[in-house]
């Protein structure tokens, strides 16, 4: 079907159809190229660990490769791949939570990540965007995962409410209220930045 055209010109849905029907690995590779970075960004903001994030995105792509036939044409490919990545990221969080529950010496490490030490931040440095970005990322990790996920998808990844509702399998109303609560939590955690 689309072999006459350049594969890079095809839409996501056309590419996955090509991969499903003809098992064209090039189509798969193009989809991986398109989505590896957005998924990395999403998973990193959600989990907060670069190594774990790379593994999760790798696993997402493996699952995509193995379960390509479970994709249905009526859904958008982006929402389907985001759902896989989101589920794997949530599993990673559960695993970490469990690990922290039964681990004795992990608690100190976790606390060092969570606690902000503003005394070391000079006023000129606190304005520095790098520091600010790190503070935002730390605050983001303190927001409840159910709110964090939708805030990241909306405000960092820039997805529409409909796409988020499809990814999270929630109604649009629930998505909007969760986004609002997530933003409120985040703003409260970062009040020392936004009150100045």
């Amino acid at each position: 079907m689309a072999l006459n055209r350049n594969l890079t010109d095809l839409t996501d849905e056309e590419l996955i159809k090509e991969f499903q029907v003809s098992n064209t690995l090039d189509a798969y590779e193009i989809l991986v190229k398109r989505y590896k970075d957005p998924l990395m960004n999403f998973v990193f903001r959600f989990v907060g660990d670069r190594d774990a994030c790379t593994d999760i995105v790798q696993d997402t792509m493996i699952k995509f490769y193995l379960n390509k036939d479970s994709y249905r044409e009526f859904a958008k490919f982006s929402t389907w791949i985001y759902t896989i990545a989101g589920n794997l990221a949530k599993n990673e969080l559960k695993r970490r939570k469990r690990r922290n529950l039964f681990s004795i010496d992990n608690s100190d490490d976790e606390r060092s990540i969570q606690i902000e030490d503003k005394s070391f931040l000079a006023p000129d440095r606190s304005a520095d965007s790098e520091i600010k970005n790190e503070m935002i990322q730390r605050a983001l990790l303190r927001v409840k995962p159910v709110y964090r996920e939708v805030v990241i998808l909306r405000d960092i990844q820039g997805l529409s409410y409909e796409e988020i509702a499809e990814i999270t399998k929630l109604s649009i109303g629930t998505v909007k209220s969760r986004i609002n609560r997530g933003r409120t939590q985040l703003q409260k955690l970062l009040k020392h930045i936004y009150n100045e």
Partner: protein, 228 residues
């Protein structure tokens, strides 16, 4: 992908949203695709293990604590044999009428020679609605209604019976006495008038002595009259 257009709801978070948008993008490592394709070619599809269902202490202990508490409470508060209240030994429930009020009305009725029975019945109905009155030592305890039928041919009104105006004599050996109202207040009790031999003998001796005295008086009168 959707376009991030801020609406009115998002204005209050505008600074935050701008900062979130400007967060640096995290990209995949350079060898990401190489590693992935290598895994696929080597059929190394081992992914991260699914997290097992977490054993939740709270989920386990909360229902257990409830069950244990219920069992303990059952043992503590279960009534023992010594506390068992035998219904056959218990006093029967008594319904106490507000008899002071009734007595007053009954006295009035006696004085008025039972001319206003209708008002009396009305007063009784009113008084029956106030059955929760305090019990005094002089209060009468009566049953609220008749359990057994009272036969009119065997019944007399108690007030009539006392005042001697009992006009309804029956042919039987006794009378069933009941209250003076139309509505029977209690089952009544049967008065049997049995003959007492001693009393009869005493009365008989009394009558004989009277007769003898009469005869004696007559004979004395007969003796005096010839003299006159």
């Amino acid at each position: 992908m959707g376009i991030n257009i801020y609406n009115d709801e998002e204005k209050q978070f505008s600074k935050l949203l701008n900062d979130l948008k400007e967060l640096p993008r995290v990209n995949a490592p350079d060898n990401f695709e190489f590693q992935l394709i290598t895994r696929i070619q080597n059929k190394n599809f081992e992914t991260l293990p699914e997290p097992r269902e977490q054993f939740n202490l709270i989920k386990f202990f909360a229902p257990s604590a409830v069950v244990v508490t219920v069992i303990i409470l059952l043992f503590v508060f279960l009534p023992g044999n010594e506390q068992y209240d035998n219904p056959l030994m218990a006093d029967p429930p008594q319904i106490v009428a507000h008899s002071d009020h009734e007595n007053v009305i009954t006295d009035q009725n006696i004085n008025n020679d039972r001319t206003n029975k209708q008002s009396f019945n009305a007063a009784r109905q009113n008084s029956s609605s106030s059955l929760n009155a305090a019990v005094n030592p002089n209060d009468a305890v009566v049953k609220p209604s008749s359990k057994y039928p009272i036969f009119n041919n065997r019944s007399v009104a108690l007030d009539d019976y006392i005042s001697g105006e009992n006009k309804r004599r029956n042919n039987l050996q006794g009378n069933v006495v009941k209250g003076g109202e139309d509505v029977p207040e209690f089952d009544g009790f049967f008065i049997r008038e049995e003959a007492d031999k001693n009393t009869i003998e005493r009365y008989r001796a009394l009558l004989d002595s009277v007769k003898r005295a009469q005869a004696k008086q007559d004979s004395l009168k007969g003796l005096k009259e010839p003299n006159n």
